[in-house]
Amino acid sequence: MNRPAPHPVPSRSLPPASRWPREHLGTLLALAALVLVFSLATRHFFSPANFRTIANQIPSALLVATGMTYILLLGQIDLSVGSVLALSGAVVGVALSQGHWPLPAAALAGLAAGALCGAFNGLVTLRWRLPTFIVTLGTLEMARGGAHALTHSQTLYLGSAIESLADANVLGFSLPFLIAITVVLAAQLLLTRTVFGRHVIAIGTNPEAARLAGINTRPVQLAVFVSTGCLVALAALIDCSRFQAANPNAGIGLELQAIAAAVIGGTSLMGGRGSVVGTFIGVLIIAVLNSGLAAVGAKEELKRLITGAVIIAAVIADLYRHRRP
């Protein structure tokens, strides 16, 4: 019943529309610093061959992290991506090695498996208004079980049936890398330039306000879940092709890696804020860290220590960047 509190009229203004170069200045600098450190510390880090190697390693992580960014933008989370990757890979593997399907058909089957997992996550979450944390934790177990059931816990050897995908290359970059870059660009434009993307941001920022504004929030959310499933399946296809094998144990811990990349790139776990380009930089930072630390010959425990510290530092830096003075 109190009288309304006074509302201050601030005079500062936000940066103009083209926010992203400035938005990502911090992470880009961090990336550059890492490259510099490793270039000085090792003989061959700063070489086109090494950068090409890194570029060819990141596509699957990049695709999964892109999907995860959209999920986080909605204010949701998906813990099942690692298992879904294994399941989609298993579907591709079984279709190729036991069904002797042609590659396109097997690839479609894998994509369908990923899309179904995404749809399952989305429908259960929306129908019963459950936290995605719980739903996707369940899917994590189920999809892993499915992957083991399909492959009888054996790594399926696929050989030349699938290697063409990873080996195709344009200007020294593998096809998977080009696919992943295309997806990142498309996802970024979708986010910033289309009705769909704006609705994702609005729902993630304030779901109730979005609903009361008359936005049909369910189809938007469902589409994000299904697309994420598809992106994960695409990553599975790329992994199968890289390793020429479908491994039911693939992707363990991938969800945390994807979340870490998104968070390093400035995506908020509360929803509504983040960008795919930022996530791309986050994936690069993690990949450079991994590659550089391996080139230095650092021990696994040190790698983990440093990666963890980078994640926390990134979140703290982000906090300062967005805190109003």
């Binding site: 019943m1 109190n2 009288r3 309304p4 509190a5 006074p6 509302h7 201050p8 009229v9 601030p10 005079s11 500062r12 203004s13 936000l14 940066p15 103009p16 529309a17 330039r193 289309t194 009705v195 769909f196 704006r198 609705h199 941001i201 609005a202 920022t205 304030n206 109730e208 306000a209 979005a210 609903r211 009361l212 504004a213 008359g214 936005i215 049909n216 509504g272 804020r273």
Partner: protein
């Protein structure tokens, strides 16, 4: 008799003075009723006494000693307890645990449940709930019983002053009776009770003295026997009328919105009314009378149990199952909780303004033309005279009034012609309020159908062509400009609480 609690010159301001020089004595063993309109300052006063808010100036004396509680705990240690309107129980814990939450009997940290349950049963018996098992989880109780448990959790403590803020809002008649019985017992023990309510009938039964607050001033303190209900109402409303009139220069058009026998939850019971193009319909009522619930139900934000809504004079009722349906039919709702339910606080003005009209700037595949979007936003910002640096400025940096204008622009851009405003000037400072009033008047003059829900009666009387009054979930009266007086509106707002069985 020395007062238990004496208030001298209490003042409190937020944007405007909320309490201004309150002098009031609470005597031992009296039930002192405090009445007043929404926003008169009742809650602020009780919060000051209970240590939740410090006063700007003025002093308190508790039994002759200076009393300035720094927090709720300090107030409770001094023997001053506040039972608030909102329930403060922990739903997953048992009744006994809630009653003794901050004084759980224990030995080295281990709760002594037998003692806890024995003590709780005793307290419950005292308040007239001898059959309630202290081990019941609170979430299994009805709201009325929860309210009683809340009161019980105060009553076992050493108590000198008990403040009850609308204690009976959720209680059934027998529960009210046992509460009153308990109050009389405390009274006989010499406890001073400050009883805040707008249920004048109950005040008649229980109060010894009545104080009336109006706009932060204490306008009267009288013995209950010397103050008839009509006088209470007149004192609450006062005599000054809003001088400004925002209704000039418009004519009522065809019917836009007809609501028939709407039911939705406890707070919307059989509501029917009409609203026309080219007019502003004000909706008045006390806090909790069902105003917000009614507009939300019309907008499809909450489910409707029964009733029909006819739009634009159609004979077929409209189907509104979600806000999306309502928006498609040209209805807009501007919520009272602008920050929580209206704005996207971390986004820019532009994004807030166009959130539900994006397809009109986009190609068939959903590609937004940023140029057309920004141009349109600029146009509306200018039209509504929104003060901001650029369309890219963060909405959180705008003042309340300018934020409200952006939300209005959102709906105008969407081409909605039935606009439901819930507390349009909440969080808007006084100067900017008149701009909002003018904006509403302009919209009505353009032929929009405007429904305004407001707690501020003066505001409604300045801008409305008609005022519908809700009381206790029912529509109790409807007045035209020439027929209304503040007294009549206030009486109608209270009428639903006088006798629970009355139907309008």
């Amino acid at each position: 008799m020395r007062p238990t609690l004496a208030m001298r010159g209490l003042c409190k301001s937020y944007a405007t003075p909320v309490l201004d020089g309150i002098d009031l004595d609470l005597l031992p063993g009296e039930v002192h009723a405090l009445v007043g309109e929404n926003g008169a300052g009742k809650s602020t006063l009780s919060r000051i006494l209970a240590g939740l808010t410090p006063p700007d100036s003025g002093t308190l004396e508790l039994e002759g000693e200076p009393y300035s509680p720094s927090n709720k705990r300090a107030a409770e240690q001094a023997g001053i307890h506040l039972v608030m309107q909102e329930l403060n129980l922990i739903r997953t814990l048992s009744v006994a645990e809630n009653i003794f939450l901050d004084h759980l009997p224990h030995r080295a940290g281990w709760i002594r449940y037998p003692q806890l349950h024995r003590d709780a049963a005793e307290v419950l018996a005292r308040i007239g709930l001898p059959h309630l098992d202290p081990q019941t989880p609170v979430e299994q109780l009805g709201v009325g019983q929860q309210q009683m448990v809340e009161i019980a959790s105060r009553l076992w403590r050493p108590c000198r002053v008990l403040i009850l803020d609308e204690p009976t809002a959720a209680l059934t008649d027998p529960e009210v009776a046992s509460l009153f019985h308990q109050i009389r017992q405390l009274q006989s023990q010499g406890v001073a009770i400050l009883y805040i309510s707008h249920r004048l009938e109950e005040i008649r039964q229980i109060a010894n003295r009545i104080s009336v607050l109006r706009d932060g001033h204490l306008v009267a303190t009288r013995l209950a026997t010397e103050l008839p209900i009509d006088d209470v109402v007149r004192l609450m409303v006062g005599r000054e009328l809003g001088t400004a009139n925002f209704t000039a220069g418009r004519t009522r058009g065809p019917i836009a919105l007809a609501v028939r026998n709407l039911h939705a939850g406890d707070r919307v019971q059989n509501i029917s009314f009409d609203a026309f193009r080219g007019e502003i319909l004000g909706v008045s009522g006390l806090m909790g009378s069902g105003r917000t619930e009614t507009v939300r139900a019309i907008f499809g934000a909450d489910p409707i149990e029964s009733g029909q809504i006819f739009l634009h004079g159609n004979t077929q009722p409209a189907t509104i199952r979600s806000p999306r349906d309502a928006v498609r039919l040209g209805i807009a709702l501007l919520t009272e909780d602008r920050k929580g339910q209206g704005l996207f606080l971390s986004l820019a003005v532009r994004e807030n303004l166009t959130v539900n009209t994006l397809p009109s700037f986009a190609s068939a595949v959903g590609w937004i033309s940023r140029i057309r979007e920004t141009a349109s936003v600029r146009g509306w910002l200018q039209k509504l005279q929104v003060r901001c640096d650029s369309p890219e400025q963060g909405i959180a940096q705008l003042s309340g009034g300018n934020q409200q204008k952006v939300v209005v622009a959102r709906w105008l851009l969407r081409d909605c012609d039935i606009l439901l405003f819930d507390e349009p000037t909440r969080g808007v400072d006084v100067g900017a309020r008149f701009e909002i009033y003018q904006l509403l008047a302009d919209l009505a003059a353009q032929g929009k159908c405007i429904v305004v829900v407001s707690s501020d009666l003066t505001e409604l009387m300045m801008i409305s062509d008609r005022i519908a009054v809700l009381s206790n979930g029912r529509l109790t009266a409807e007045f035209t400009r020439h027929a209304w007086t503040q007294d009549k509106i206030m009486a109608a707002a209270l009428s639903g609480y006088l006798s629970p069985t009355t139907t309008p």
